[in-house]
Symmetry: D2
Subunit: 137 residues, 4 copies
């Protein structure tokens, strides 16, 4: 399994008038954690886009278990179980500083040729990074 | 079926460097459309919260079909098929000005007693509004 | 004077745990109101960018007078007092449904050639629209 | 002078279709850097609010010098030159990983009694922290 985690101290503007992190922000944390994983792979998203491939989201699913609050230090996880073909599936989760599961979900990503706007394959560099990590662990 | 729709011209800050509306914003449009529906019911969310009940999200699911762009006038739909018990399920969709389906999804909402933080029933006023609309159409 | 106004019902995700609209959102309302003004001019920002000119912000200044809340219907104003040369200055204000001034501010915008990234003049179509409105009133 | 800095890797959702960080986000970085400073003081904002004092913004001013991009690691600075009376003035700046000044600005904050909604004095704990740092350096 590919595993990556990133820390996110809650930001004040992410709270809403219920006094908790607004639910849309976890979708954003998910993305940040994925992009941080790509950076750890040595192939950050901006490099991928310069190489002509964008990675739009196809599906997101999110289950809210426990509200995060201002002052929380969130740990956001991205996990890949299998090498992507046309689509990349990533499992994600958010834990607080007490290891309480706040949110879990999964996303499916596609790959688009930036020039044509048409579906394309997972870029070689990303595929190699994922496969090497899948074999490692 | 309860049906409500709201218009959202795309806002510049909602776009990202792919040149399309960032995917997290549809989750926000969904919420705005739901809150607008409650306003149409004559029972806006802020009144509900003053009455001591918050409506946190339990699950969101979102399928991205077609990217929205700056200049688009989006129509965001909220639909309820059955009266809520402990949970309220809402189907949602986003169409652009050419009636192209951009995103579809569904959310499940819970009801919390604001004072105790414990689950509670759907507020009577909201239930009555939903049921009266369910019978109407 | 060029004058344009746009209505913004407060969105739930724009509130923060103080129970008011988070201050950063007024900066976003300002932008939306400016872009709506350009749309009224018949020259929306996306058309301007297609014509090769982006309009980045140079300075923003914002004075917070009265907090906006969920349920408020905000009226956001953009006013231009003189035709732009290298820079465009716009005065802005936000009023609530009771005509209370919530925020006032001003922004200065520049014009960049999208291809070269260098400063350029105000696009002719925008200049003509501004000048014709300046003379009208 | 009180000096505090915080690192912010740019997040994808913070970019816009100009391919740069949307200008409203610097206002948010400013706030995060201020709140991080309070945390360093041992008196985080959520503790201050629990003590009954909120710290709404009165004025913000922001000068945009150089655009930040996806992949940038921003360093956001908060500086206090004098102990607050009714208002707290903070100078702020954003630098990228090459030490290029991206944005500079300043904010003025007020103090409100949460219960009454009326202006109040700077909380003692915050004042002591600021004064002790002012004397240190």
């Amino acid at each position: 399994m590919v595993y990556s985690e990133t820390l996110f101290p809650v930001r004040y503007y992410e709270t809403d008038q219920m006094g908790i992190v607004h639910h849309s922000n976890y979708i954003r944390y998910f993305e940040c954690a994925r992009n941080n994983m790509m950076r750890e792979f040595g192939y950050p998203i901006e490099m991928c886009e310069e190489d002509g491939v964008t990675i739009p989201i196809v599906t997101v699913e999110c289950h809210y278990k426990h509200p995060a609050k201002m002052g929380d230090d969130l740990r956001v996880v991205a996990m890949i179980d299998e090498a992507p073909l046309a689509k990349l599936r990533i499992r994600q989760a958010v834990y607080n500083q007490d290891n309480v599961l706040c949110v879990e979900g999964q996303v499916v990503l596609g790959f688009l040729n930036k020039a044509t706007g048409r579906p394309t394959r997972c870029p070689e560099k990303l595929l190699v990074a994922i496969e090497s990590h899948l074999n490692d662990r």
